[in-house]
């Protein structure tokens, strides 16, 4: 039993499990005096040091992603100029950065890219920007689709649930990553004139569409299960008997109770979406040269890891930090919503 249900308690007639969780009961009694669930969640979250730090880290990534153009302006480099080509002394005869540690200098903070000789720092900034924004859009879209389908199936049950379930099964049975790879060229070739460069926004849209088209099922299943378990609960029944419309019940009664699984799933999905985008770029159907992309940096870095491990260093560390922070943040968000399952 999750605590959002108990928070509902004040306005629902049945609260059978209060006594079984005395700590909760004790705390509820205070909550009921004043603060809203949101404030409580925020209060609890604020006290979770790991959560706050992870949130700061994640926020930091989003901020630098958003401010990439600004930062690069101040820094005085951009991710497209081939510095190594304009200044041949930057690359050695193997087209690797000539300077030590991947060519890190006061001028090129994170070194320069092998072969083409672009600036790694701005490349990473813009790469994070590309990946994050694409992943965010895709994850939001697949979350929305998943929640809607899950709610519809779980709440209405019967035939619609059956068919939605079958559709979900169908998509689950698809070898996803294979389909990403197979579908991407189709989308890009169908929508772009044969003699024009595929614009980056078309690729972005294609990636978002493909990923969310094939990525909503876990969310839908989760929400369906949660909705099913909630549907027959007394407070829903009560709302139904009191004549509330299905939409109202979904919105007012069901939705607040599935926020936790949705948020937790969202925080799980976002990093994995970033990794899926990286996968697409890795096999050459996602972003292509010269778009700076986090995932593509891995593909490049993996190619030169032995000669120039420093190129991989910053994207790699950044990725690990980001994914870890995001996962910890997910835990904290869940704890804040539902202290029982936390640490």
């Amino acid at each position: 039993m999750t605590s959002p249900i108990e928070l509902e308690g004040a306005e629902t007639p049945s609260l059978v499990d209060k006594e079984s969780a005395p700590q909760e009961g004790a705390k509820e009694s205070k909550k009921l005096e004043g603060r809203s669930p949101g404030q409580l969640m925020w209060g609890r979250f604020k006290r979770d040091r790991t959560g706050v730090i992870s949130a700061v880290v994640v926020l930091f990534f989003f901020v630098i992603a958003a401010a990439a153009p600004l930062i690069s302006m101040v820094y005085g480099k951009d991710p497209y100029t081939l510095y190594g080509q304009e200044r041949p002394e930057l690359l050695d005869m193997f087209t690797m950065p000539a300077g030590p540690a991947g060519g890190m200098t006061g001028e090129f903070w994170f070194g320069i890219e092998p072969v083409l000789g672009r600036d790694v720092f701005t490349q990473l900034l813009y790469g994070i920007r590309t990946s994050l924004l694409t992943a965010l859009a895709a994850t939001v879209l697949m979350t929305v689709v998943g929640v809607l389908i899950g709610l519809a199936g779980g709440y209405f049950g019967g035939k619609s649930d059956y068919w939605l379930g079958r559709i979900t099964d169908f998509f689950m049975a698809l070898p996803n990553q294979l389909f990403f790879v197979a579908a991407m060229p189709v989308i890009t070739t169908v929508f772009v004139a044969p003699d024009e460069e595929t614009p980056t926004y078309v690729r972005t849209c294609a990636i978002i569409i493909v990923l969310s088209f094939l990525g909503w099922m876990s969310m839908a299943r989760l929400i369906r299960a949660a909705t099913l378990s909630l549907r027959d609960r007394e407070f829903i029944e009560a709302a139904r008997i009191s004549g509330a419309s299905p939409w109202r019940i979904i919105r007012k009664e069901l939705f607040p109770n599935i926020v936790t699984p949705v948020l937790v799933q969202f925080t799980l999905t976002l990093p994995s979406t970033i990794l899926s985008i990286a996968f697409l770029s890795f096999v050459g159907v996602g972003y292509v040269e010269p778009t700076p992309d986090w995932g593509r940096m891995f593909a490049i870095g993996a190619r030169y890891i032995e000669q120039d491990p420093y190129y991989m260093l910053f994207p790699g560390v950044a990725m690990v930090v980001f994914v870890v922070a995001f996962n910890l943040l997910g835990d904290s968000v869940r704890d804040a919503f539902d202290p029982k399952t936390g640490r």
């Binding site: 499990d17 079984s20 009961g25 004790a26 705390k27 205070k30 209060g43 609890r44």
Partner: protein
């Protein structure tokens, strides 16, 4: 029956000393929001063969008390102070291993909702037999025989077949009976029943209570009956303890407390209970306000923010000074005995009808 001697034993000792004795028990949880004083200085005694009813609203500390007796509180976040002695043995400082040998054998618990308290993954028979095997070293087959025995005793038809059923194949009442059978597996001396009938409908409720009474007579166990339903207490208990905000506010025999309650909170409880004899048009009178926060309980008498009689006490003592509960038949209230009697007779009793 393997422990035929027990009832006589119990009968012999019950008169001499309390079987369970709780003294100045404090159970404090540390949570992220601060320290919750779930139980704060509780004392009571219980003899063998007797039933103590603990009554109170949600969050008044009655369930916590019993979890503390069983040692099932979270040891990392809970601080326990005071003493709990069971059959002369101190429980608050007992080790986990020691408690394990006591739980199920000397003291057992009947949970409120058998649906959640029985594991869905194992058969009823197995769950009943498990403690028997553990405490008596019986074989699997003996445990099964024992389970069938117990199921029969608690009134499950065709126990031979039902013993291999899973809890979800039982009806609500049957599940509760199975739950009771599980608690009785080793003929415990102390039975804690945490709202054993709340989740059941009224006819089944009565059956279960009758069952408990019968069993108590047969085994001579002491029972703690936790409930917020005064009707159940009236039916079952010998003594009553009324709890509010982690403390006992009134104590006495069933007759004393129900016929002549002394604490305004008890009055409130009685007033909010429907009676067959009362006029249909007469509204129930709920206690105004909601239970206090245990993180930050009200000063003085914890009940004073909801109490309708605090003006009767001069000098605002209700909000500044905490009333104490005297031993024996008593109530923790600043009202004098006369005031209580007068108020009860003049304002409360007419309402109760």
């Amino acid at each position: 029956m393997t422990t035929q001697t027990k009832p006589e034993e119990a009968a012999a000792t019950a008169a001499e000393r309390a079987f369970l004795s709780v003294r100045d028990l404090k159970v404090h949880f540390s949570t992220e929001d601060g320290v919750v004083k779930a139980v704060d200085g509780l004392s009571f005694d219980l003899e063998r063969g007797k039933t103590l009813g603990i009554v109170g609203e949600s969050g008044s500390g009655k369930s916590v008390t019993n979890l503390a007796v069983l040692g099932l509180h979270n040891r990392k976040t809970t601080a326990i102070d005071g003493s709990i002695t069971l059959d002369g043995q101190e429980l608050t400082d007992a080790g986990e291993k020691q408690l394990e040998t006591l739980r199920g054998k000397k003291m057992a618990m009947i949970f409120q909702d058998a649906l959640t308290a029985l594991s869905p993954y194992y058969t009823v028979g197995r769950q009943i037999g498990e403690p028997f095997m553990k405490h008596t070293g019986a074989s699997k087959r003996d445990a099964r025989v024992r389970a069938i025995d117990l199921l029969e005793k608690v009134g499950i038809p065709h126990p031979q077949q039902r013993v291999d059923d899973y809890p979800h194949q039982f009806s609500g009442g049957m599940r509760q009976r199975a739950m009771i059978a599980m608690a009785l597996a080793c003929d415990p001396d102390l039975l804690i029943a945490d709202e054993p009938t709340t989740a059941l409908d009224v006819t089944v409720q009565a059956q279960i209570l009758d069952l408990l009474k019968d069993l108590q007579q047969e085994f001579g166990s002491a029972i703690i009956m936790i409930t917020h339903d005064l009707g159940v207490v009236a039916n079952m208990a010998d003594d009553i303890l009324v709890m509010y905000a982690g403390r006992a506010v009134e104590r006495g025999t069933v007759r004393e407390v129900l016929k002549a309650p002394q604490h305004p909170y008890t009055w409130g409880l009685l007033g909010s209970m429907p009676r067959l004899t009362s006029d249909v048009d007469e509204p129930l009178v709920p206690i105004p306000g909601s239970p206090p926060s245990l993180l930050n309980p009200p000063s003085g008498c914890a009940f004073h923010p909801r109490c309708g009689f605090k003006e009767e006490v001069p000098g605002g003592r209700c909000s500044s000074e905490r009333p104490l509960l005297a031993p024996g038949r008593a109530a923790a209230c600043h009202l004098t005995g006369d005031q209580r009697q007068q108020l009860f007779i003049e304002t409360i009793q007419p309402r109760l009808g």
